[in-house]
């Protein structure tokens, strides 16, 4: 009995960790763009879908593995993001701290254009990628987990490390953080905020493309792909504190633990998985408007006061 409970606990923990990897990957790009530009990128789902199709094209035409294909997908989507910024950047810029309505509408329009372009190029047929390891699994602590999920998790950890190194250890990262914290002050300090915004939009778009590429190794897709992931990503970045990539990873883990834990230890229907996300979004907005990093900051202050 005890060993069964232990086994179940290990299974929930492991599955939560793997799901968190997937969720975080979906949300990094959204968080980077929001952090720097105060823009909610509604085209994120469209870019994820495009990432899946580009990966599919690389796999079917040139036999490039979806995970190896990331070295092509990432720079390609970075350039695509910079191009998008150059085309629409001025219209997207928000004067204050709140996202502008114009940017929301514009990016929603970009999403629709991407979606319909995909319908024209690839039709509405369901596509998928079947590699030699798609159906393979490995055993970790007595729990069978799918190999693609493990690869997605590893890629997610690598993304987190990359973003943290980029933001904290490089001049570009410092400039991005400066623009994130105070755009006007950054401008006065000689930072080219427009260039930094273009690069940040490129990085965010690249991560959306990477997310799409990784999702294509897990599931089937059509041009309508990405909608439900966008909503989940919103919940994660709100929970993660909107601007912090480590916060995003923590938010993804909280959501994944909640979903897997509820399924394993309660009789709450799994069809309410999305409702769990939105309830969490609601709680985060009301109780933790600055997300998990805000909560940690409160604890830090209390500890310092003592």
């Amino acid at each position: 009995m005890r060993s069964t409970l232990m086994q179940q606990f290990v299974s929930v923990a492991l599955n939560s960790l793997l799901a968190a990897g997937l969720y975080a990957t979906m949300a990094y790009g959204l968080a980077v763009i929001y952090g720097v530009m105060r823009i909610i990128n509604l085209a994120h789902a469209g870019v994820m879908m495009l990432g899946a199709y580009v990966t599919y094209a690389l796999f079917t035409r040139f036999a490039i593995d979806p995970f190896l294909g990331l070295v092509i997908v990432a720079p390609l989507f970075f350039l695509f993001g910079v191009l998008l910024y150059k085309l629409f950047g001025r219209r997207m810029a928000a004067p204050g701290n709140a996202p502008s309505i114009e940017s929301l509408l514009l990016l929603f329009g970009v999403w629709l254009v991407l979606q319909n372009t995909a319908y024209v190029i690839w039709t509405g047929d369901t596509q998928s990628i079947l590699t030699s390891y798609t159906l393979k699994s490995m055993e970790i602590a007595g729990v069978r987990v799918g190999l693609p999920s493990v690869f997605v998790f590893l890629a997610s950890v690598a993304s987190l490390v990359f973003l943290n190194v980029l933001l904290k250890r490089t001049y570009l990262g410092k400039a991005i953080r400066a623009v994130t914290q105070n755009r006007d002050a950054a401008l006065l300090s000689g930072v080219n905020a427009d260039r930094i915004s273009a690069i940040a939009f490129g990085i965010g778009t690249a991560f959306a493309g990477i997310a799409g590429a990784m999702l294509s190794s897990l599931m089937a897709f059509t041009p309508d792909f990405g909608r439900s992931f966008l909503l989940k990503s919103f919940c994660i970045i709100v929970l993660g504190g909107m601007e912090s990539v480590t916060g995003v990873a923590a938010g993804a883990l909280v959501l994944a633990i909640l979903e897997n834990g509820l399924a394993a230890y309660t009789s709450v229907p799994t069809s309410l998985q999305d409702a769990v996300s939105f309830a969490l979004l609601f709680v985060a907005l009301v109780v933790l408007p600055r997300g998990l990093p805000g909560l940690l900051a409160v604890f830090e202050r209390r500890r310092a006061a003592q």
Binding site: S11, N15, L18, A19, L22, Y23, M26, N116, Y119, T123, G124, D125, T126, Q127, S128, I129, L130, T134, L135, K136, S137, R144, V145, G146, L147, S149, L215, L218, M219, A220, F221, T222, P223, D224, F225, R227, S228, F229, K232, A256, E259, N260, L262, A263, A264, P269, T270, S271, Q273, D274
Partner: protein, 405 residues
């Protein structure tokens, strides 16, 4: 006040008469049929297939001289509109066809959600409506003008249970059997679950449902749900899912190393996209469908041959259903002997299309307007092979049960 001059009155009257005569002539010269289909957007894949088959059937009828309406051969003038997979637009275009194009009948779209939106319009104008692409029971029985050539999804589940019961009776499966029932949170999924639940209620000694769960469409992670399936320790896994969810779920099912004596994803399983995405992981999955090109009827073989000659590929179930929808309407118009909407409606309600290519070979409609047809059951075999395993009399290979572990 300006008074019209006599020549103006005559001209106006002449114009009015000409218009009336013109429209009367138009009404007698052709049969105006409207169709609303999702040719773009998320339902465009099968919507496009419905267009192809609808136009093919209309061309076939017109090439043969048209429909004999009370001794006069009339050709079909088809107006086909794209609803872009949008339910509101679907209803609006149906109304447009009736009000502006003054169609004699409407051929409905594909997808229960879209057809549901369209199906409220015919009642307002008293125009016969026949759909070949919606099996949700909620659409039918509310209006006497609405018909559908897809048998209800509830019957799909019933057919699968009949098939399983036959395997039990043949000694291939051992009762009592525990069923893990999982379905998408849609009208389609609810009807499927209802069909299984009702069958189990009437066969309590043979079956029990140990898990009854629903899931949202396009879920990113099926592990929590399949964890429950694993814990339920059922003998049979019955799921109703869209193609994308079927692929994602069966991948996770395989990775988790789950096993059940029999596995079905409702109507999914034989799809080429599914087999391409899952490879050997689809072997032995059984699926129910509204049609199969493996049906051994002579009319099916003839249809397969002429379809392949015209389109280069073998027909799929959606081609067959769209084709039969047009044929049923044509037969009803011939039977009605008039283009009067009530006469056509009444003819559809009582028609018996005896050379139908659909399972059972006879297409007729119930009082609620749904087709009364059996389903076929197919089972995937290794190396991409597929066998028709139900109805028993039409099977092309023996059912494999239980699935080899």
């Amino acid at each position: 006040m300006h008074r019209a001059r006599p020549w103006q009155v005559i001209l106006l009257a002449g114009f009015a008469i000409a218009m009336t005569v013109g429209s009367a002539l138009a009404a007698d010269d052709e049969i105006r049929v409207g169709a609303v289909l999702p040719l773009t957007g998320k339902e465009s894949k099968i919507g496009g297939a419905y267009k192809l088959a609808t136009e093919y059937a209309v061309k076939e009828i017109n090439d043969a001289g048209g429909i004999d309406v009370h001794g006069k051969k009339l050709k079909i003038n088809l107006t086909l509109l794209d609803d872009t997979s949008d339910a509101a637009k679907s209803a609006q275009l149906t109304e447009q066809l009736i009000v502006q194009q003054k169609v004699h009948a409407v051929i409905g779209g594909y997808g229960s959600q879209l057809v549901q939106a369209e199906s409220v319009v015919p009642e307002r104008y008293g125009v016969p409506y026949i759909s070949g692409g919606a099996g949700a029971s909620a659409i039918y029985g509310r209006s006497k003008w609405v018909f559908g050539t897809l048998s209800p999804v509830e019957n799909l589940a019933q057919t699968q249970m009949d098939f399983l019961t036959d395997l039990v009776n043949a000694g291939k499966l051992k009762a009592p059997l525990k069923i893990s029932l999982v379905r998408e949170n849609t009208e389609h999924g609810r009807d499927f679950a209802k069909g299984v639940e009702e069958f189990v209620k009437t066969h309590p000694k043979m079956y029990s449902i140990v898990l009854n769960e629903s899931f949202e469409l396009y879920a990113p992670d099926f592990k929590p749900l399949l964890g429950r399936v694993q814990q339920a320790k059922g003998d049979i896994f019955m799921c109703d899912a869209h193609l994308e969810d079927y692929i994602a779920m069966q991948r996770t099912y395989t990775q988790m190393g789950l096993y059940h004596q029999m596995v079905t994803y409702g109507a999914r399983g034989a799809d080429e996209a599914g087999r391409k995405a899952l490879g050997a992981a689809t072997d032995y999955i059984f699926a129910s469908g509204w049609w199969s090109d493996l049906l051994p009827y002579p009319q099916v073989k003839a249809f397969n041959t002429k379809w392949k000659a015209a389109n280069g590929t073998m027909p799929q179930w959606y081609h067959a259903c769209a084709y039969e929808t047009v044929r049923a309407l044509a037969a009803a118009i011939h039977k009605a002997g008039s283009l009067n909407p009530e006469a056509i409606r009444s003819a559809i309600a009582t028609i018996e299309l005896k050379d139908s290519i659909l399972p059972g070979g006879v297409l007729k409609f119930s009082k609620t307007g749904e087709a009364v047809l059996p389903f076929v059951v197919t089972q995937n075999k290794p190396d991409g092979k597929l066998d028709l395993v139900w109805p028993k009399a039409d099977k092309t290979g023996p059912p494999v049960a239980p699935i080899p572990h």
